[in-house]
Amino acid sequence: MRYLLYFLQKQYIYFLFLALEAISLLLLFNNNEYQNNAVTTVSNRVAGSLLNMSSNVSEYFSLRRVNRILAEDNAKLHSNRSEAFYKADTGSFYQNDSLYKLEYRYISARVINNSTNKRNNFLMLNKGHRQGIENHMGVIMGNRIVGQVVSVSDHFCWVMSLLNKDSRISGKFKKNNQLVNIEWGGGNYQIGEVKEIPKHVVIHKGDTIITSGNSDIFPEGLMIGTIDHFTIAQEENFNYATIRFATDFNSLSFVEVLIDMMRKEKEDLKNSFKSSER
């Protein structure tokens, strides 16, 4: 017993090292499960308020560009107003409530922290639970995708950007609806990878890839990017291509969080299907 104590006393530094490493690695690899625990909520609040202050200063530098984007969006919205259409029959513009239900609501949020130079990139937004944001909501800018919400506190949320090794977007070719998967392989933040392109699909440079709507996160038809290069595989069953993202991740300042008004209904349906399978 005395020898054991002596041994522990002499070697305590190794045990301390192993204990601290174990704690950090546990935190690292269980990050997804503990996302909304007390530790992250508190640290989100502290980190959030500091990053918010820093972004309050730095956003002045991008005002010119933000103004331009807003003006473009305004123009687009104006062209969608009913006054912009030729009125042959006023009745045809009446939106019947039982036919058109609001499916998605958009919440505008400011990006207060962003990175593109790491292998796993996250954004922090200045909206949280109080504004109705929850996990797994999609984040877009205009009609281009940005990422999905992975962690929420009262006033802030972390968004896993498309530039992350865990990010996997279900997309499709706009021209023929062929499904593909889009990932990011690190390095250049403008270029991603398109995987599992079926061999029979003819690829051209500049083909547009849009979201497929198969996941619960993004609706169909959002812009992901255009094909940049492609290789025709000789032995494998799938071709491979690189994609140039439509979103400029390095200059995000205002984004929109998509709130799916029918999400509960969709989830209930999925759950009832699962329970009936059993």
């Binding site: 530094i13 704690i23 950090s24 992250t40 990053l51 990175s115 130079n117 996250f122």
Partner: protein
């Protein structure tokens, strides 16, 4: 003693803020991301007890993790670096006694000593950090490139800081 303590706490806060507010926003082609905040571990005094070395490195890493939503990533790399530090010091020691209350510095230990010291420790930290971040071997050489390029930039800032802030320390 208290002064050394306060000095190190001040350095801790300053380096975290510098890393989060400035260095994390630097963008060089997606490969280079200097992690200058580990300068804190490099500069802890020689006679710091090893448990304090490990604990302060853990706190440093976990504080930075809070700002990048990567809990445990920087912490584990920093703890490893702090664990290795005494071995590195004894391995490259020149035999001369280090003065109590002094930090490793370019002026006191000389360019050759400090270069060995900082290059080994920065490489240990960056290797752990980047390979843990990826955690797969498919991008092995790409990650190696990131490790080496980022280490060069971190070391560059470390040496600039040495020449800027400690020019006449005796």
């Amino acid at each position: 003693m208290t002064i050394i303590f306060l000095k190190n706490i001040g350095r801790f806060v300053f380096l975290i803020l510098f890393q989060v507010l400035i260095l994390n926003n630097i963008q060089f082609g997606g490969y280079i991301n200097p992690y200058f905040y580990i300068y804190f571990i490099l500069l802890l005094p020689f006679e710091t007890p090893r448990w304090l070395l490990l604990l302060s490195a853990f706190l440093l890493g976990i504080s930075l993790d809070a700002f990048t939503n990567t809990f445990g990533l920087n912490a584990s790399a920093c703890v490893l670096m702090a664990f290795v530090r005494p071995f590195v010091i004894s391995a490259i020691s020149t035999g001369t006694e280090f003065m109590v209350g002094h930090s490793p510095s370019l002026k006191n230990q000389g360019l050759k000593w400090f270069a060995y010291y900082s290059i080994i420790l920065v490489l240990v930290h960056h290797f752990a950090l980047f390979y843990l971040e990826i955690f797969r071997f498919t991008e092995f050489f790409q990650t190696l490139l990131r490790v080496l390029l980022s280490s060069v930039f971190t070391l560059l800032i470390v040496f600039i800081a040495e020449y800027l802030f400690y020019p006449t320390e005796k």
